[in-house]
């Protein structure tokens, strides 16, 4: 049955397509292949989520080798939601890509761009689906190397510098991660996550494990841009081509956060309870700093993509804060906000990318006349911006509500204040866009609405900002079960 092999196909299809794509010489076939692949990947991920939700975790043995010797792919509701997110964002972004890439990237590089995108998709899906710690590292490198290419293809020469920065720091992160995995391997002799969890319980000398946890935390912290390890992110997001920014912003950091959850809770949780370690206190402090300082930094950015990038650092702070709170409610809030933030930031980068393409300038002040000349784009920016603020009726509100109530539940009222208080800062930076778009005089050159092929994907994500704000049965319920699964450990 082909259905049994879907976990493998989830990763294999994009990988294969990437290879074919790199051999194509023309832009349109490469784009068509990337789009078709993304749609197939999204369909597979939706099917996997439905299966995992109804029938429990799916275990797939690669090459029929029994774990822990062979590599196991393991799909439960936690990573199935993430697979759907990654593949879904890819499927929405790709139709947008053709016109956008045509404007931003030199024609001869188009197949390379799509090939890198597909490799990046492969890597991110692989990182999410695999249950083998070393295999995670391999996919992490696939995703990272291809994303350096995605960023470096930006038309601004500064994109090269941004890619280089990301290359260095990303490599440091990946190295720390693999050193951490190494320490765990030294004491347990296994790389399979379920097996690791079981064997860690019997470890007598805990010092290597503690060192390993430290390396893992820093490595993944770099990858997910936890404040103050976020240095690479604003430049990378600002100078990458729009499609690259939207895809990476919505997915790459989210997968790193998922890995963190997986390692802290599934792998280490049963024998080294997260709540009993000193990590939560550090994480909460860093997260609150991220939420407040990055929001303030966002207010002071002149470039719109940089502003959104700093806003991402702040929003990642919300997610890590939920993890830091550590309760089931906190994790639920973190997972929901992870999903929701991907949707709204994806929407914003696509919309803003369209505005920049038409207006030709990355500065917020250059958005003058946007409200009049690109009303659909502007309306989308307002809705997604309100989500970012966390206005009720939008996805941002759901995440903030869950996180704030998790904080109050733990008796930490001041944390709840930090969570909702930063909304006021978000009002300031979102409203800078609104004011510029409404009240600034338009630039002299004529520009009109985005083409429909770009507007549609952007608006699909914008509509989801409202849909998931009013109907949370998918996000909150799956996230709630995923959180229970993570807290419960890998026993099942």
């Amino acid at each position: 049955m082909i259905a049994d092999h879907l976990p493998a196909l989830q990763v294999a299809i994009p990988l294969l397509a990437a290879g074919i794509c790199a051999m194509l010489r023309r832009s349109v076939p490469a784009w068509a292949l990337a789009t078709a692949t993304s749609l197939v990947a999204a369909a597979i991920s939706a099917w996997l989520l439905a299966r995992a939700a109804s029938g429990g975790p799916i275990s797939y043995r690669l090459g029929s080798w029994e774990p822990p010797w062979g590599i196991e792919y393991r799909v439960d509701e936690a990573n199935a939601l993430l697979l759907l997110l990654v593949a879904g964002i890819g499927a929405v972004v790709m139709p947008y890509a053709r016109r956008s890439v045509a404007r931003e990237i030199a024609e001869e590089s188009h197949p390379w761009f799509y090939a890198s995108y597909l490799l990046c998709l492969t890597g991110l899906l692989g990182m999410s689906i695999t249950a083998d710690a070393f295999n995670v590292f391999v996919f992490m490198e696939v995703a990272s190397l291809s994303s350096y290419v995605l960023i470096a293809l930006g038309r601004d020469r500064k994109a090269l510098f941004a890619a280089y920065q990301y290359l260095i720091l990303g490599t440091v992160g990946a190295t720390f991660f693999i050193i951490g995995v190494g320490f765990l391997y030294v004491v347990t002799g296994t790389l399979n996550m379920v097996d690791l969890a079981a064997r860690l319980a019997t470890v007598e000398d805990v010092r290597p494990v503690v060192v390993g946890i430290a390396f893992l935390s820093v490595g993944l912290g770099l990858k997910l841009a936890l404040f103050p390890l976020h240095y690479w992110l604003p430049n990378a997001y600002a100078y990458a081509p729009t499609v690259g920014t939207a895809f990476l912003a919505a997915t790459a950091t989210k997968v790193a956060i998922y890995l963190l959850l997986r390692f802290f809770f599934t792998v280490l949780g049963p024998s080294f309870p997260f709540a009993a370690s000193p990590i939560p206190a550090i994480w909460i402090a860093l997260s609150v700093a991220a939420i407040i300082l990055a929001s303030i930094a966002a207010i002071h950015q002149a470039g719109i993509k940089r502003m959104l990038a700093y806003s991402s650092v702040a929003q990642i702070g919300y997610i890590t804060l939920g993890i830091g709170i550590g309760s089931e409610a906190g994790l639920t809030g973190a997972i929901v906000h992870l999903f929701n933030h991907a949707v709204m930031k994806g929407a914003l980068f696509l919309l803003v990318g369209g505005a920049i393409l038409r207006g030709g300038d990355m500065n917020i002040d250059a958005l003058g006349g946007l409200a009049r000349r690109m009303p659909a784009t502007f309306a989308g920016i307002v809705i997604a911006g309100l989500s970012l603020i966390g206005v009720p009726g939008t996805v941002g509100f759901v995440g903030k509500w869950l996180l704030a109530s998790a904080a109050i539940e733990q008796g930490q009222l001041w944390l709840a204040f930090a969570i909702v208080g930063a909304s006021a800062l978000a009002v300031v930076y979102v409203w800078r866009i609104v004011e510029a778009a409404c009240f600034r005089p338009p630039s002299t050159e004529e520009f009109a609405e985005m083409p429909i092929s770009m507007l549609m994907p952007a608006w699909i994500l914008t509509a989801l900002c409202i849909y998931f704000g009013l109907d949370t049965s998918l996000t909150v319920e799956v996230a709630g079960r995923a959180a229970a699964l993570l807290i419960g450990g890998a026993a099942t």
């Binding site: 869950l402 909702v420 300031v428 004011e435 949370t472 909150v476």
Partner: protein, 485 residues
């Protein structure tokens, strides 16, 4: 029609009208006809529901769950009915006025004006008929966002600055303080439903209740309790119909309505009295009553003077809520309606003066009553209602608040109310006096256009009618206080 459907129509009618108004942007007559029809339909719906709900079962829509334990739902209760009836009635009058004002002053962007106005009314109806805190909060924020384009209507530097203050204070206070309180109540009680007698009595001790009350009172920035009042005078740059919307129809009323609703249906009057924390609310509100009146005294700009008068009058409602007695609850509810009619009349008159004579300062009003007798007569009626003189609505509401204060032996509150009455007279009567009894400069102009005069006449008559026939409003007010007459 099924009452639950009627309830949904309350939000749906103004909501859907935004689309039709936007579509008829090229035809001003059609556009304004749509506004008037929507306003008329809305009021008819409220009236039908009022008749329906008399003594019957509680009416509520099917819940729409958004989070575990958190749902959106509309329901009918007396306070909401009172607020909804006042707002929908005044929307009709305000639309008539808007047509006269916006055309006479050749205001730009009139379509977006009417669209945002209708959207504001949809949000207001949502607030009035919210069955729980989450629904109230959703529509509360919608109202802020829907009124923002109206505040910045002029698109000049001053309007943009005012818009910033407006958003920063309203969104800031609600997203930080109000939301924290809402989340907290849901965690404590597992529900945010509005229930007669309150829902936190069994789960919140005195300190928790105190913190919650503070979060609510300062988080509901639309109630303009000092120091969260600056947005209201700042928003005066907007066209006059917008000021009327802010001050009388929707925004500030939504604020004091929400405070009253929280005090009566969430925290519970008895529970607050039991833990004894009403006094600081009375103190804060009493201070706002006096301080805002004193500031109003020194405002030469007529609209700014009226704005500070609103800040002061709103705190009457908050103060009355803080007295925690059935009589004061009746007074608070009545004052929402009484102030709405009085203040909208005053703003209409101020806008009429601006339209006909292009005057905005109190010092320019000498002799204007001879050229605009109807306008200044309406202004006088509104001023009487603010001061609390018969035969106007303000007298009745003030009477109940005073009676509650006297009954509870709050001599300081009595003193505050009497002093504020004197202050009200001191800043509202001089414009009337100079308009009628001083010589003007002899400029030639008459009354404002007919729709403006008609609208302000109607609201002035409303002020008097509410004094002469208070039975329906009183009946509703007593039901809020939990006493079925």
């Amino acid at each position: 029609m099924n009452p639950a459907t009627l309830l949904l129509l309350m939000v749906a009618i103004p909501g859907a009208s935004t689309i039709f108004i936007a579509l008829s942007g090229a035809h001003p007559n059609r556009r304004e006809a749509v506004t008037l029809i929507a306003a008329g339909l809305l009021f008819a719906t409220v009236a039908a529901l009022t008749l329906d709900s008399w003594g019957g079962d509680p009416i509520s829509t099917a819940p729409w769950p958004i989070l575990p334990g958190v749902e959106l739902r509309l329901a009918i209760e007396p306070l909401g009915l009172l607020f909804g009836a006042v707002a929908s009635l005044l929307w009709i009058v305000n639309s008539i006025y808007s047509i006269g004002y916006m055309r006479a002053n050749r205001e730009p962007r009139q379509t977006s004006f009417y669209v945002c106005f209708a959207a504001s009314l949809a949000a207001t109806m949502g607030i009035a008929f919210a069955a729980n805190l989450a629904t109230l909060f959703l529509f509360y924020e919608m109202l802020t966002l829907a009124t923002y384009p109206l505040v910045v209507h002029k698109h000049n530097a001053e309007a943009i600055r005012a818009g910033r203050i407006y958003l920063a204070m309203l969104l800031g206070s609600s997203l930080v303080l109000f939301l924290s309180a809402v989340v907290w109540v849901y965690l404590l009680t597992g529900t945010g439903d509005f229930v007669s007698g309150g829902i936190v009595a069994r789960v919140a001790d005195a300190p928790t209740t105190g913190v919650l009350l503070a979060l609510f009172v300062f988080g509901i920035g639309k109630a303009a309790v000092m120091p969260i009042h600056r947005w209201l005078p700042a928003a005066m740059v907007a066209p006059t119909p917008v000021s009327a919307l802010l001050h009388a129809v929707a925004v500030v009323k939504a604020g004091v309505f929400s405070v009253l609703k929280v005090v009566v249906y969430v925290l519970g009057v008895d529970h607050l009295a039991e833990v004894g924390i009403g006094s600081w609310l009375v103190a804060v509100a009493g201070f706002t009553v006096l301080a805002a009146s004193v500031i109003a005294l020194f405002q030469n700009n007529l609209k700014r003077r009226l704005a500070y008068s609103t800040v002061s009058q709103l705190s009457y409602v908050v103060l009355a809520a803080g007295l925690l007695a059935p009589l004061s609850t009746v007074g608070a509810a009545l004052h929402i309606a009484a102030h709405a009619f009085g203040k909208i009349t005053l703003f209409f008159a101020a806008g009429a003066i601006y339209t006909a004579a292009h005057k905005t300062e109190v010092s320019e009003l000498d002799g204007i009553g001879r050229r605009m007798p109807l306008t200044m007569a309406a202004f006088a009626v509104g001023a009487f209602s603010m001061i609390g003189l018969p035969p106007t609505a303000g007298f009745i509401s003030k009477w109940y608040i005073l009676a509650a204060a006297a009954e509870g032996g709050h001599s300081i509150v009595l003193a505050v109310l009497l002093l504020s009455t004197l202050l009200n007279a001191a800043y509202l009567l001089p414009p009337v006096y100079v308009a009628f009894f001083r010589e003007g400069s002899g400029e030639m102009h008459g009354e404002a256009p007919a729709p403006i005069v008609v609208a302000q006449g109607l609201t002035a008559i409303g002020c008097i009618a509410l004094f002469l026939f208070p039975a329906a409003a009183l009946d509703l007010a007593w039901r809020i206080a939990g006493v079925v007459p």
